[in-house]
């Protein structure tokens, strides 16, 4: 601790250089925190404690195929099942095809919606804020793969883990080809308890395995993961960006530390002459790099909060709004950021510190300061 003032003063020996280097660390730390938080949001966990008891049933071959609505009655008979809501992803266009006008549209059965989504409540704000809707407003959505336009009336607003969708009555699709064929996209169902989920899934899968439309029943989380798995490359891209930027800043800080050490060859020779050992010089120079990186790390971690709040505000008004509800800076992310900061300091400071500790006193003193 008695060396701290010496270390601190040397860190800010060239103030503008120290602040610019810190700024580069701050930017990297903000980027790492944001990307890590995005990765966590992409690894979609609905955050619904009650969602653990939910099961989603889809066609065994994928979401592009549909199942007979008649399955509903059979599924309702499976022991452990509380309620079943047939749902269809409408995928319609609201106003126009611009991304900012995109939102999810799911038909459902209002009789059981509240049971299946019992952690949702009414009212809310997200889509209302986004489109300045009011209760009673007419919302026209033009179908894409389901032809026709549905004319909805906004009756209520919910809050929940994902507020980026609207739900409408299945009756609106009765006259569509799916309605006429008595088909649905998925069954969203609630079981009695999370422990019942594996048994219910097995029972449903077996029930329809030899039918014309075999199904795949899975826990809600697994269903959601299907979508984020499609973004596998995006995650790889995020990780690659984070690592590249991290490596770049290590080089920047290493260069700063090397310049700082080179400029102080005489100073280092003097303190060695005064009796400082090689190991002490090594620790002093390394500590300077770590202090610099930690200061940048703290500033970066603090700076990432307002940045993240702004980002969430923006994402909430985009087609990927669902991620905004999972986007938060976790303690694990902050720890990762601090570890990265210390790592930057150690990696960047190590070579200059070793070099400084090896400076010959005689050669160092011979240089004109």
């Amino acid at each position: 601790m008695k060396y701290f003032r010496f270390i601190w003063k040397n860190v800010f020996r060239k103030k503008s250089r120290a602040f610019l280097t810190m700024a580069s660390i701050v930017l990297v730390l903000v980027l790492i925190v944001v990307l890590s938080s995005l990765l966590e949001a992409l690894d979609y966990d609905t955050g619904r404690t009650k969602g653990a008891a939910n099961v989603v049933v889809q066609h065994a071959t994928g979401l592009g195929n549909f199942m007979p609505l008649a399955y509903r009655q059979k599924i309702e008979q499976v022991p452990g099942v509380v309620a079943v809501a047939p749902q269809i992803w409408f995928g319609g266009i609201y106003v126009d095809e611009r991304p900012q006008n995109f939102f999810g549209q799911l038909s459902t059965d209002p009789q059981v919606w509240a049971i299946v989504h019992d952690d949702y409540s009414i009212p809310d704000d997200q889509l209302i804020d986004r489109f300045h809707w009011t209760i009673g407003q007419r919302i026209q959505v033009r179908g894409t793969y389901i032809p026709g336009t549905i004319d909805l009336v906004l009756r209520g607003v919910y809050t929940g883990p994902d507020e980026s969708n609207i739900f409408f009555h299945n009756k609106y699709l009765e006259n569509s080809f799916l309605g006429r064929l008595e088909r649905t996209g998925i069954f969203y169902l609630r079981t009695e308890a999370p422990e019942k989920v594996p048994g219910v899934c097995d029972a449903i899968n077996k029930m329809f395995e030899n039918s014309d439309a075999p199904v795949k029943a899975m826990p809600e989380k697994q269903f959601m993961l299907q979508f984020t798995e499609m973004m596998g490359d995006v995650k790889l891209l995020f990780r690659s960006i984070a690592l590249t930027v991290l490596f770049t800043v290590v080089l920047i800080v290493a260069n700063t530390m090397a310049m700082s050490a080179r400029e102080r060859v005489t100073q280092i020779a003097v303190i060695r002459a005064l009796g400082f050992r090689r190991s002490q010089v090594l620790m002093l120079v390394l500590s300077e790099a770590i202090v610099l990186a930690l200061l940048g790390g703290v500033a970066g971690a603090l700076g990432s909060f307002p940045f993240m709040w702004g980002l969430i505000g923006i994402i909430k008004h985009t087609p990927v709004a669902m991620f905004a509800y999972n986007l938060k800076i976790s303690l694990a992310t902050l720890l990762t950021a601090f570890t990265a900061a210390v790592g930057i300091g150690v990696l960047a400071g190590f070579v200059p510190a070793i070099r400084s500790s090896r400076i010959s006193i005689v050669d160092g003193l011979r240089r004109v300061a």
Partner: protein, 239 residues
């Protein structure tokens, strides 16, 4: 020789530059007693600073033995030598070599960071050292806020703060005007007479050398002439 503080026996030093072996000092024998003030003179490249570095323990001889205060420093390992330097040697450089980001107080405190003294004890030592060199009122000044003479006095305070036995000074007045140089030499004299420091000073300045008890002359690595400083002083004054 038994009572000598510094005993240099058959010391040679050569540097390697690529495949070349460059001899700097040849078979030097020298003893310095406790409390002596030695001036080391000679032309540039004669080996004065090398000899100073050897007896200060920041360089090692190619041959021979250096014993200081009954300890053979020429065979010490580097870590041991660093500790020994911290305890026994005070350095005074031509260009002062103060740390620019530290105040005068912090610069003087630097050698004490290597000791086990408490913060209060360190502060007391630093205040004493600054008082000895007459710079108590400049403790909070940075080197850039001091004159050359004041910087050198801070450097001297740093050299004496850990109470070493020996002060080694490499052209301590080489970068100063005549008046400041005189003040520094007065201070060194005082440290020698009042505080009983053994001083070895490299200088080109005969006036500075005249302050010493003994003047050693090095030429091409050979300690060739040894004459009393007073004689040089007389020759300088034309008496």
């Amino acid at each position: 020789m038994a009572d000598s503080l510094i005993c240099i026996e058959h010391v040679s030093k050569a540097y390697r530059r690529d495949s070349l072996q460059i001899p700097v000092l040849a078979d030097i024998d020298l003893t310095i007693d406790t409390g002596e003030f030695i001036a080391l003179m000679g032309p540039s490249g004669s080996g004065k600073t090398t000899l100073l570095n050897l007896l200060a323990g920041i360089d090692t001889p190619t041959k021979g033995r250096i014993t200081i205060d009954r300890r053979v420093i020429s065979s010490m390992r580097e870590t041991e030598l660093a500790r020994w330097r911290a305890d026994h040697i005070g350095f005074i450089f031509q260009l002062y070599n103060l740390i620019p980001v530290l105040t005068a107080f912090e610069n003087v405190e630097l050698p004490l960071l290597l000791t086990r003294l408490s913060r209060q004890e360190r502060q007391a030592h630093v205040r004493t050292a600054l008082a000895i060199v007459g710079l108590s009122d400049r403790a909070d000044h940075y080197p850039r806020q001091l004159s050359g003479g004041q910087e050198q006095r801070v450097a001297i305070a740093r050299a004496i703060v850990a109470d070493p036995v020996i002060l080694v000074a490499d052209e301590p007045t080489g970068d100063l005007d005549a008046r400041s140089a005189g003040e520094i030499l007065d201070l060194l004299n005082r440290l020698n007479t009042e505080h009983h420091k053994t001083i070895v000073m490299v200088t080109h300045d005969p006036r500075a050398a005249a302050r010493a008890h003994r003047m050693l002359h090095l030429d091409k690595g050979v300690l060739s002439v040894e004459e009393p400083a007073a004689a040089l002083d007389r020759s300088r004054d034309g008496r």
